[in-house]
Amino acid sequence: MANNDLENNVLLLDDEDPDTPNNKYLLFHLGKEEYGIDIAQVTAIEELPNITVIPDMPEYIKGVINLRGKVIPAVDLRLRFGLKEREYDNRTCIIIVKVKDNTIGFIVDTVSEVHDIQKSNIGAPPSFKNASRHNQYIQGLAKQGEEVKILLDVEKLISGEDQNILNDIPEE
């Protein structure tokens, strides 16, 4: 417990501002719902470039993109979350994230803003009895006014078999 307090103090010492980077989330839309990703894990936000289809992949992996010379796998988050597929338009964006040397692109309906969310406003994820392990990637639910934003844990999102698959794709 003491360690935890210490750590908090250090941070407070480093910066008096309570708005630590840890509290900044990039918000994006999938349908009506708004999701959030910790901004520290985000490398870039891009308009959707051409996608090269890779055969024999799960449906949600749309293929790979060439982003300034780097080949990055592109995951359709709607399909990944088992939502209805939607045709891409000029507002469709790809969010490039980097987790433990893995770079990956999430295709989302559109990005909205970078928003500060106080920790006090973040609730635990729902724990249903029969909840599958697939939705363990939900970090928490942020209340903001009347709305609720689903905060995602990117690390968990790309762990497991997904990771293996992704590892098969050469990066360079």
Partner: protein, 769 residues
């Protein structure tokens, strides 16, 4: 009246004499012609009949002659057969045959044959000599044949049988090639044969009999032949008949002796003249067609004075082998016949002329008798006619001669009747004279029930009585009528004046209507002009609408441009937003050093968001304006349609107004005509007034004239007749004193009228104007 001159043709004398004479002439001419036609008919008939009889006689003679020819051929044939019969059973002959038959009979030089031949010559010499001596004929032509149809001996040839190449030889020459009779008798039945057969010398009449031994053995045959011309002695019965014999030319190969055409001329390669009784006559008359016609049966024709006939010559077997030609001179018969006909014609001419003269004399006598009789009849008629002429002239002062009436015939009866006529006429003229004096009281005596003139006189008397009575009555009526006319005329005059004033009022009303309808027309014209102007205005409005619509379309396209531009701005705002977010990410990564940068990025992002918002609003506004333009467009189209319907409506209104204007003008014209009509009515009314006054005056005059008439009628003496019985509607009052009566009587037929009933001027009467 002058006595009428009757032409002879129209007079009774003419009417009887001319037809009788014409009738007699026709009768005479007809009888004369009848007799001559009858005579002609008898003449021709007799001529025809006698010609037929003549022809029949000739034909009969020809048939007789032909039969004589055939019977003489038969006679000579049977004579030959009789003669040959003597030699058939002589033992010496049979012995000679036996010798001949013992040798080779096929050898013509057989010595046995030669021996037999010589024997036969010796044996038969006495027969031949006897025959010659007794008959005076040159030779008995006796011919013996062997059974194989070879000649054993010809007894009329002296020591030879035949001639070959100019050499006389004594052989048993062969006959089988042409002597059918010999072949026939030596083979088969061995029956005797007689008839014509063609031999070397042409036709020969033969009798041929078999030589048979007592044992029945056939030895050969024997034959006697005569020349064909033997029959000439029998058949040439008169100088007028001549014969010629023609053999068929195809028999010439058999009849070799006739092969000399100079002696025996050939006709057209068909017939050979073998014999003739008189060549000078027959030769020029014969012809091929004549001979051909006679091949089957007797044929004959007339040629000038000759009757030519041909008929067939049959051989023993009945075959036609030639034709015989016969000429008969009938010149004498012809001459007799012609003389008889001439006599006949002369006789008929005499009969004809005799009859003509007899008829002429009879006619003249008849005509004279008729004229005398007619004159007797006509004389009294002429006298009666003179009386009738006087009556016709109106002079009844006649005394008829008694002599005429005493006559016992039709003219006497006519005279008596004529006397009655005159008496009757004299009586009636005296009656008429009385009427002329004005005395209508006398009674007329009728001559009989059929007395037409008498009846007429009675009727005239009655009619005059009645008529004058009625005239009297009528004059009274006229008087009354005249008064009524005067009164009616006055009423009429008054009525006319009233109608004149009414007319003036009508005239005034019409004038007012006239000016109103003209005003109407003018107004309609003006309205028409206005309606036309409305059409023009509506058209102009339509054009303006079009311009407006085009402007709006331009705005629409501009809006599209604006939408594109706004889209571009929106894209830029989005990208700016992305950039701002990326900046934010970078700033976060920089940690507390990126804080300021993050603020700037946020600001940029805010700007981007605001511009995006502005873009959204602009887009909405542009879309709103496009929507408005579209609805405006619809409004414009609607307005254009309405303007168009205004246009059509206005032009219709203009048309209607024009029609109204035209109708009003016509109305005005019609009213003008009405006015003219009213003027005329006015004139008529005025002249009616004047006429009514005049007729009143005339009625007065009429009344005074009728009084005078009444006085004049009183001079007639009338029978006292009850006039009330006369079928007439008017009552007659003879006792009433003459004078004017003013009482109105409905029986006169004149009705008192109210003038307003006569002239009724309703509005309906003006309809036709």
């Amino acid at each position: 009246m002058a006595k009428k001159q009757i032409s002879f043709f129209k007079s009774i004398k003419g009417k009887i004499v001319i037809p009788v004479i014409i009738l007699l002439s026709i009768l005479g001419i007809a009888s004369f012609m009848g007799i001559s036609i009858l005579l002609d008919f008898v003449n021709t008939n007799v001529a025809d009949n006698s010609k037929k009889v003549f022809d029949n006689t000739i034909n009969e003679r020809i048939v007789e002659n032909v039969n004589l020819v055939y019977s003489s051929i038969e006679t000579i044939g049977s004579r030959a057969l009789q003669e040959v019969a003597f030699f058939t059973k002589l033992p010496e002959i049979q012995n000679a045959y036996k010798i001949a038959l013992s040798g080779n009979i096929e050898d013509e030089y057989s010595p046995e044959g030669q021996k037999a031949r010589e024997m036969l010559r010796v044996i038969l010499k006495p027969y031949i000599d006897g025959y010659k001596e007794q008959t005076g004929r040159s030779l008995l032509k006796l011919h013996f044949h062997l059974p194989n149809a070879r000649s054993i001996v010809r007894l009329w040839r002296n020591g030879y049988q035949t001639t070959r190449d100019g050499v006389k030889i004594d052989v048993s020459d062969d006959l089988s090639s042409f002597r059918n009779t010999v072949l026939q008798i030596n083979s088969g039945s061995h029956k005797p044969i007689s008839g014509i057969e063609v031999g070397r010398g042409g036709f020969a009449i033969r009798g041929i009999a078999p030589l048979t031994e007592s044992s029945g053995q056939h030895l050969g045959s024997v034959e006697v032949l005569f020349a064909f011309n033997e029959i000439f002695d029998i058949i040439k019965t008169s100088d007028q008949i001549e014969y010629a014999v023609y053999m068929d030319a195809d028999q010439l190969p058999i009849a070799k002796s006739l092969a000399d055409p100079k002696k025996y001329p050939v006709l057209e390669n068909t017939y050979v003249l073998t014999d003739a009784t008189n060549k000078e006559i027959t030769d020029p008359l014969v012809s091929l067609s004549l001979l051909n016609n006679g091949r089957e049966k007797i044929f004959s024709e007339e040629n000038g004075n000759y009757v030519l006939s041909t008929f067939p010559i049959y051989d023993f077997s009945g075959r036609t082998v030639g034709v015989m030609f016969q000429t008969m001179n009938i010149a004498v018969q012809h001459a007799d016949f012609a003389a008889a006909r001439q006599n006949m014609a002369k006789l008929s001419d005499e009969v004809t002329s005799g009859t003509g003269i007899a008829f002429l004399i009879a006619m003249i006598i008849l005509s004279v008798i008729i004229i005398i009789i007619i004159n007797k009849i006509i004389k009294p008629l002429t006298i009666l006619n003179d009386y009738a002429v006087k009556i016709g002239d109106g002079n009844f002062d006649i005394i008829i001669d008694n002599k005429l009436s005493l006559k016992k015939d039709e003219t006497g009866v006519l005279s008596t009747s004529f006397s009655r006529v005159v008496e009757s006429l004299q009586y009636k003229s005296s009656m008429v004279e009385e009427v002329a004096q004005g005395d209508l009281t006398a009674d007329v005596r009728l001559a009989s029930d059929e007395d037409m003139l008498g009846h007429s006189l009675v009727k005239m008397n009655e009619s005059l009585n009645s008529l004058l009575g009625r005239v009297h009555n009528s004059i009274s009526q006229v008087n009354t009528g005249a008064d009524q006319v005067a009164q009616a005329s006055q009423s009429l005059s008054q009525g006319a004046t009233e109608s004149a004033s009414s007319l003036e009022e009508v005239s005034a009303s019409i004038t007012q209507i006239n000016s109103q309808s003209r005003q109407n027309a003018d107004n309609a014209n003006e309205a028409n002009t206005l309606a036309k102007q409305a059409v023009v205005d509506a058209e102009e409005g339509n054009k303006q609408m079009e311009t407006l619509r085009m402007s709006m379309e331009k705005i629409n396209s501009s809006s599209d441009q604006i939408k594109k531009i706004v889209k571009v701005i929106d894209d830029i705002a989005f990208q700016t937003n992305l950039l701002a977010l990326n900046a934010n990410v970078e700033a976060a990564r920089a940690g507390k050093y990126g804080k300021g940068f993050a603020v700037v990025a946020d600001e940029v992002r805010n700007l981007a968001v605001r511009s995006s918002q502005a873009v959204k609003e602009t887009t909405e506004m542009v879309e709103e304006s496009i929507k408005n333009i579209n609805s405006g467009n619809k409004g414009v189209e609607h307005t254009a349609k309405q303007l168009e319907s205004i246009m059509t409506g206005s032009s219709k209104v203009a048309d209607f107004l024009e029609e109204i204007s035209a109708a009003s003008r016509e109305q005005a014209q019609a009213i003008d005509q009405i006015t003219t009509g009213l003027d005329q009515i006015d004139q008529v009314t005025q002249s009616n007034t004047a006429s009514a006054e005049e007729s009143a005056a005339a009625a007065e005059e009429l009344a005074s004239q009728s009084t005078e008439l009444k006085n004049m009628i009183a001079t007639f003496k009338l029978k006292s007749v009850d006039y009330t019985n006369i079928p007439r509607q008017i009552e007659y009052e003879p006792e009433k004193a003459p004078g004017r009566t003013l009482t109105l009587q409905n029986e006169t037929g004149i009705r008192q009228v109210n003038p307003s009933e006569v002239i009724t001027l309703d509005d309906d009467d003006f309809d036709r104007f």
